[in-house]
Structure formats: structure tokens, C-alpha cells
């Protein structure tokens, strides 16, 4: 068992990891930037280290500073959370070289799936269905146009080294591809330090469904269920649910089996997610990408399985067994997560500011993973996630009823939030029916 862990992250996920670590008797160390000193996770850790100025590049992304903090506090392990350095294979290797335990998959696995083009090719070879798309990075507009002709429109432009929906755009024809290509390249360079682009056939009215996997130390890979993440704006998730109302038991079985094959193919250890696109008409799916880390929306899987995924991450990283019998996993009921963002509910534009009121909902089936509290300042330096409102129920109807009430009870003043949007989503016929796809938000806003 790990003795201590430094959480190389901030906000809600840092708080979440610190909570489980301390419950396990593991000393938890937080790091924070000059903008985050007042956030609750800093005081809830056993120890906290200031690592730099507000901009992420000078703090949370500064590997030197993070490793320095680990050395200074005698941390035995580093948990990277999500984003920041979580999928940085070089950093993972540095942590291991420094004699610390890396709470995540082996650097080789991170590298294998970190590049989307490589991951697609690799998964295809492993017998996992993939979308029609680029086998090599597309380097200029001429190559993009030739590739798009081969793939067939509509085509999605993506950053090969990307994540968080950044740098993605769908193009219906050559003119749109020409217009979107350079923007995608410059965004990819700006956000990921890598201008490589890939093109993929765009599946109309697809559902984004992902599978939670857990790679055990005995090399077994478990699939703990799927999550439907189709509610998105700007290609970023805003609400997720499990089980997916768009997936039949037969399709679910095929997807979970494919996710296990994907995990085994890369020798995966720890918590990971295999993201897919489902064509609801044809009840077919393709592999999109694999995320070699814990995901934002992991709590809904925890709520239906009763398994603490962060606990499993720490147990696996410590070389031990998971806390449950793999054959005993049962998914019970339905869970939904609503991401509460600091943005206006109509146009989803960022709304930083000081929080003057913060009152969380509570009640049966309600769980709030919050990164902030009253008095904190929400700054422009990080993503806009304030909290995750997660709700469980015995049925989808009950979960949604409870979620709707919880949205009304959640009071946040200061920055604008998208709580009003979540009320609208839950009240909408489309979402209530369960028959929605990745264009649902666009339809609510049209």
C-alpha cells in the first residue's frame, strides 16, 4: 500500500483524490498555484505546496515544480488526475525514474494510445472496429483534401495529440475543410504543442459512448460498464449518464468485450476509458480513442457499481489487488452527471469571478464533487468546471427526477453558471426520451 500521494492537479479532482487517499490512511499532498490558495482541496490535504504562478504552464504543467514538491514532502507516489500531466508519458517516466510510484498506466501504454492516429491503427490491428480515417498525420491542406476525398464527407478534423474537444470541427465539403484546416492546426499547436491533424469520417447523429476499464496487476482487464456522453457543446461533454439509453444489451456486450481487448492489447494497468461512437440506427460502434487516466465523469460508474475507482487506482498502483471480487460486479440503477460550468447558460461563454454564494443540493442519491466554495475566485486560467452534480436512482426516471430537483436547489452566485441550461436539458422531450445524440445541445439552442 502506498504511504503518501501527491495529487498533481487542482479543483474538484484534486479534492476527490485527496478524499479517498485520506480515507485509505494515505497521506495526501496538494499542490496549488497562486490563483488557487483559497480552494477547499488545499486545506483538506495533509500538506500543501505552492508550486508557481497562475498560468498552468508555470504551475500544474511544470514537471520540475511538481517533482520538486514531491521530493520536498517525501511523497511516495504521484496521482495526476485528468488533463495537465495525466497523459504525458515523459512525465510518467520521470516520476518512475525518480523512484516514485506513478498512479496510472505504464508510460509505454500512455504513449501507445496518446496519439490518436497511432491508437486507431493499433486498435484496428487488435481487432477493435475503428472509424474510417487517416493512417498518418495530415500535414497540409492539399493532403487534407485528398484524404477527405478518400474518406468521404462529412469529415471531422481533429488534433492527433488532442483532448477536451479542442481543435475539432466537422466539415461537410471541401470548402469547409479548406476553411477549417489551418485553424485546427494552429489550435493543435497552441494547446497540445503538436500540429498533427487527423481526419475521420463523421457519423451523423452519433452517440458518444465510452467504456470504463480497469487493468489489474494480474493482467486481467475488467470492463465496468458504459457511459453515454452525447450531451456536448463545442465538442466538450456537459452531461453524462449510465447506462446509455441508446445501447441494447447485445451492443453493450460487444462494446465491453472490445474495450477489454483494447486494454489487453496495450497491457493496460489502472483506470482507463475506451471512447466510441455508436451509430444508433445500425446499433454499430467504432473505436474513437482511449484515455489513459481517470475521467471527469467517473462518479456515475461509481454510483451504479458501488466501486470507488480512485481507491482501485491507488490499490493497483501499490501493486495489490482491487477491493472487490471481479466476478461480483453488478450495475444497479441509473446515474447521471451534470457538469456545472462557470459560463452563461445561453451562449456558454466563460464567466470568471468571485463566488459570493455557494449552496449545494443534497438528498437521496445526490452527490456533489465540488472544486470551489463561497469566497473563492474563479479565474480564467483553467477550465470552467465548478462542480459535478451526480445523481443516482433506481430507474432512469427516478434519477432524472432527483437531478431536476437538485438543479433547482444548487445556488451559486458570482460567476454565471450553466445550471439553467441543465434545467432546460432535463425538461426537454429529447433528453427525457433518451433518444438523443451529439447534436442535442445544438437543437436546444437553435
Amino acid at each position: 500500500m502506498i504511504e503518501s500521494v501527491l495529487v498533481a492537479n487542482r479543483g474538484e479532482i484534486a479534492r476527490r483524490v485527496i478524499r479517498t487517499a485520506r480515507q485509505m490512511g494515505i497521506r495526501a499532498i496538494a499542490v496549488y498555484s497562486e490563483a488557487d490558495g483559497g480552494l477547499p482541496y488545499v486545506r483538506e490535504a495533509d500538506e500543501a505546496v505552492l508550486i508557481g504562478a497562475a498560468p498552468a504552464a508555470r504551475s500544474y504543467l511544470d514537471a520540475r515544480a511538481v517533482l520538486g514538491a514531491a521530493r520536498h514532502t517525501g511523497a511516495a507516489a504521484i496521482h495526476p488526475g485528468y488533463g495537465f500531466l495525466a497523459e504525458n508519458a515523459e512525465f510518467a517516466a520521470e516520476v518512475i525514474d525518480a523512484g516514485l510510484t506513478w498512479v496510472g498506466p505504464p508510460p509505454a501504454a500512455i504513449e501507445q494510445v496518446g496519439d490518436k492516429i497511432n491508437a486507431r491503427n493499433f486498435m484496428e490491428q487488435a481487432g477493435v472496429p475503428v472509424a474510417v480515417g487517416s493512417r498518418e498525420p495530415v500535414t497540409d491542406v492539399a493532403a487534407a483534401i485528398a484524404e477527405a476525398r478518400r474518406i468521404g464527407y462529412p469529415v471531422m478534423i481533429k488534433a492527433a495529440a488532442g483532448g477536451g474537444g479542442i481543435g475539432m470541427s466537422a466539415t461537410a465539403n471541401e470548402a469547409e475543410l479548406r476553411a477549417g484546416f489551418e485553424t485546427a492546426r494552429s489550435r493543435a499547436e497552441r494547446f497540445f504543442g503538436n500540429a498533427d491533424i487527423l481526419l475521420e469520417r463523421f457519423i451523423e447523429r452519433a452517440r458518444h459512448v465510452e467504456v470504463q476499464i480497469l487493468g489489474l496487476n494480474d493482467s486481467r482487464v475488467l470492463a465496468l460498464g458504459e457511459r453515454d456522453c452525447s450531451v456536448q457543446r463545442r465538442h466538450q461533454k456537459i452531461a453524462e449518464e449510465t447506462p446509455s439509453p441508446g445501447v441494447t444489451p447485445e451492443l453493450r456486450a460487444r462494446m465491453l468485450a472490445a474495450a477489454i481487448r483494447a486494454g489487453e492489447a496495450v497491457g493496460y494497468r489502472g483506470a482507463g476509458t475506451v471512447e466510441c461512437l455508436v451509430d444508433p440506427e445500425r446499433q454499430d460502434f467504432v473505436f474513437l480513442e482511449m484515455n489513459a487516466r481517470i475521467q471527469v465523469e467517473h462518479p456515475i460508474t461509481e454510483m451504479v457499481t458501488g466501486i470507488d475507482l480512485v481507491e482501485q487506482q491507488l490499490l493497483i498502483a501499490g501493486g495489490g489487488d482491487v477491493s472487490f471480487a471481479p466476478s461480483s460486479v453488478r450495475n444497479a440503477g441509473h446515474a447521471v452527471e451534470l457538469r456545472v460550468y462557470a459560463e452563461d447558460p445561453r451562449r456558454f461563454l466563460p464567466s470568471p469571478g468571485v463566488i459570493t454564494e455557494w449552496a449545494e443540493p443534497s438528498g437521496p442519491g445526490v452527490r456533489v464533487d465540488a472544486g470551489y466554495e463561497s469566497g473563492n475566485e474563479v479565474t480564467p486560467f483553467y477550465d470552467p468546471l465548478l462542480a459535478k452534480l451526480c445523481v443516482h436512482g433506481a430507474s432512469r426516471a427516478e434519477a432524472l427526477r432527483r437531478a431536476r430537483a437538485a438543479v433547482d436547489d444548487f445556488r451559486i452566485s458570482g460567476p454565471r453558471t450553466n445550471l439553467e441550461f441543465h434545467a432546460e436539458l432535463l425538461d426537454s422531450d429529447e433528453f427525457a426520451s433518451g433518444r438523443y445524440d451529439t447534436s442535442v445541445v445544438a437543437r436546444l439552442r437553435s
Binding site: 466563460p350 470568471p352 479565474t379 480564467p380
Partner: protein
């Protein structure tokens, strides 16, 4: 004379226009970045940029002056 001001707290990511430039309605003056989102700040009318008050890397508060167009 129009004063172009920041509508929210943000980082100045790119300064696109320069002092002395002629701009048309809708031309991008600077691109701000807030919470991983790019927000172009555009001229709301034709004119000349007589003052550019920000540099790349600056943090602007809501209401801060970005540019003056005459």
C-alpha cells in the same frame, strides 16, 4: 471615437491589429483566451486604431481598455 473594452476577465492571447491600422467593421483586434476558450474582440465600425492598450500575455479585467478606434 470608440473605446473597445474587455467584457470579462481573460488572458490576451494574440494581438492581431496594430496602432495605426485601418480596420473595418468586424475585423479582429485581439483574441482573448478565458478558460480554454478563444474569444475574438472585434471592431464595431470602420476606423483607425489610434491606441492598442494590451500586449500578448496580459490579463485583462472586465471593463479594461483594449483599443481605441477613431
Amino acid at each position: 471615437m470608440t473605446e473597445v473594452r474587455a467584457e470579462m476577465v481573460a488572458n490576451v492571447w494574440q494581438v492581431v491589429a496594430s496602432e495605426g491600422d485601418s480596420v473595418a467593421d468586424g475585423d479582429t483586434l485581439v483574441i482573448l483566451e478565458s478558460m480554454k476558450m478563444e474569444i475574438p474582440v472585434m471592431a464595431e465600425g470602420a476606423g483607425t486604431v489610434t491606441k492598442l492598450a494590451v500586449a500578448e500575455g496580459d490579463v485583462v479585467q472586465e471593463g479594461d481598455l483594449i483599443a481605441v478606434i477613431e
